[in-house]
Symmetry: none
Subunit: 188 residues, 2 copies
DNA sequence: TGGGTCTCGATGGGATCGCATGGGTCTGTA
DNA sequence: TACAGACCCATGCGATCCCATCGAGACCCA
């Protein structure tokens, strides 16, 4: 199946619009809902936004299905799970507009880093993401030492993406080291 | 499959009218009753109002169906669930008028926060809602750990240590709060 | 294999449309 | 007659749509 992979950095224009990477768009289109929208909500434990298509939305439903109707607990969880979700429409040029609430949570201002995470993707403030990624790599390195697991040197570098036209942030490519160790098949 | 999602804050005008968010209206319209009305009643365990369309009303019926006829329990529940239900008409401009009784229960004065909860939505006094939302997020975090615990116990890349700079926000790998089963299905 | 050309994705901006609001008016009811 | 509610109209701002431009990578040809 299609997964969101690689990292792209796009600009937020004066009207607050951002182009969703073409490759991500293609995946969303195949994921239903006329491919015209993205489900997006503030990530619970990171200054970032989580986003995805129908599949992602379905996960929310499944999560709540286990709870009894009309229970206070269900209502409470719903507030966080549905209340924070925004359905962002993708316009004809493949752009979305990020609501103020979401931009605030992720600290977004001029640029957005779209990070593919397989079934979903995240949107980060470029600088923060870079820092976090560095930390993640370090972490992986440590673990590798612990396990002495020499297997699988990460050799990603899968990132095709616009050039440094916009400059600086030359940092991107795959983002895999971030994924949970499991899922080794990230690459084909 | 339409669900009420996201949160909107609208104003109550001098005549006591409030605009129902356009996206919520669209869902109500598809939910029957000529799309011209909203079922609304004071939430049982929160200073808020619960609202929805035909589907919601149907759920209440189903809930009562499960109880034996003429039982005290059923009577009590019926009163609780139906006794305070109001059918609010949506005018041509997409607005409703909240009866005094309902406004009092939720402590509404000048603004109303419409919160999507999937099958239904709630109306809150904005300030109070913020508090509730914070609590809800915390709760989800806990829950996530519960079912997330199952798979992927190796919490790699999840350093108790934060990365440089932006560090704070525990550098959780955040991925699937929502996807209990997630990740694995990356392929397909 | 080097260079020129073409196609597509990312941006900017102007022009519109829809939605949230504020108010005036008409009508049925105390 | 006084009022509350329903209906309509007017407005302002933000969300969308559409069109033009730029640059990069893909493609084609000599």
């Amino acid at each position: 199946m299609d997964r969101f992979v690689s990292t792209f950095i796009n600009k937020i224009d004066a009207k607050g619009r951002v182009s969703v990477p073409a490759s991500f768009r293609a995946i969303l289109e195949r994921d239903g809902y006329a491919g015209g929208a993205v489900y997006c909500y503030p990530s619970l434990d990171a200054p970032a936004l989580d986003a995805g298509g129908q599949t992602l939305a379905g996960n929310i439903d499944r999560l709540l299905d286990g709870l009894p109707d009309y229970s206070d607990e269900r209502d409470e969880l719903s507030v966080a799970l549905y209340g924070d979700v925004h359905t962002l429409a993708i316009d004809q040029d493949g752009r979305i507009v990020l609501p103020e609430a979401l931009r605030a949570h992720a600290g977004l201002s001029t640029h957005v880093a779209f990070v593919g995470l397989g079934q979903k993707f995240q949107m980060w403030e470029p600088a923060r993401f870079e820092a976090r990624r560095a930390a993640a790599r370090e972490k992986v390195r440590q673990h590798r030492n612990l396990f002495g697991a020499g297997r699988r040197q990460l050799a990603p570098v899968v990132g095709p993406q616009r050039g440094p036209g916009s400059g600086h942030e030359s940092s991107h490519e795959s983002s895999h080291e971030l994924g949970p160790g499991g899922e080794g098949g990230a690459r084909e």
